[in-house]
Amino acid sequence: MGGPLKDQALASRAELSAFLAGVEKRAFKHAAYALRNDDAALDAVQDAMLKLSASYGERPAGEFPMLFQRILQNVIYDAMRRRKVRNAWVTLLSAFSPDDDGEDDPLDTLLADSDATRADTPHGRYEQARTLAAIEREIARLPHRQREAFLMRYWEEMDIAETAAAMGCSEGSVKTHCSRAAQTLAAALKAKGIVL
C-alpha cells in the first residue's frame, strides 16, 4: 500500500543527497567569494541546504540546481544586508571609542593570502596554488551580479534560461553579465601574467 510512496521518498532523498554532496563545495566557494568570510559562507550554505530540503525536497531532481542557486543567492544577499547594517552600527559606535586596536587591518588579509600560497611545495603545486589564488581573488572582486551569472553559467553549467530564472532577470542580462565578467577576468589575469 505505502510501497510506491516510500520508494519515491527514498529515491527523492537519495537524489537530494547526491545533489547536495555534489554541489556543497562549489556552493561554499561561491558564498565565500561573495561574503569573503568562511564562517559566513558555511552558514549561508547550510541555510540554503535546509531551505531546499524543507521546502523543495520532494521536487524532481532536475529542478534542484536552479532552486538551490536561487535560494543560495537570496541567503547571500540576506547575509550581505545584515553585515551592512552591523558594519554601520560598528562604524557609528567606533567613532566614540579610541581607535588603537586596529582589528580589521587589510594587510591581515593579504598576509593570510600569501600564507596560503607559500612555497613549501614543489614548483608545479606552487604555481597552481598561485594561479588559483589569483583567480579566486579576481572572481571575488567582480561585481556581485556579474560573478553570480558567470559562476552559475560556467561553473554550475546551468543554461541561460535557468541562470536567468535563478537570478530573476532576463536572458539578455545574463549574457551581458557573463560577457563582462569574462572580459574583466581575462584582462585581470593577463595583467598578472597568468595564462590559463
Partner: protein, 123 residues
Amino acid sequence: MNEQEFASKLAGHLCVAAHTVEDEVAQRLRGARERALAVQRRRGRLARLLAGNRLRFAFGPVLRSAGSMVALLALLAAGDYWATWSRVASLEEVDAALLIDDLPIDAYLDTEFKTWLSRESQS
C-alpha cells in the same frame, strides 16, 4: 580564445579550488548536508502519514458517520419538499375549480364543503 573556452578553463581551475577546501570546512559541509536531509526525512514521513493508510484509519469512522448523517438529512429534506409540493398542487386544483365554477359533483355531496361554502358566503 573565446568566452566559452576561457570560462571552461577557468571553471576547471575553480573545481580544483573547490576540491582543496580544508578538512574542517568539508566536515562542516557534510554536517550541514546531513541536517538538511534529516529535515527532508521528517517532512517526508509527515507527508506519507497524511497521505497514507494512517489517515484513513484515523479519520475513517468519522468520515463514515458524517456521510451517513449527510445522506439522512438529504433524504428528510427531499421528503419534506415532496410533501409540500403535493399539498400545494392539490390546493391549486381546488382553487382553480372554484374560480371557473367547475366543481365536480362530489364537492356538493361533501357536507364539510357545503358548510365551509355557506360560512364563506355569509362572511
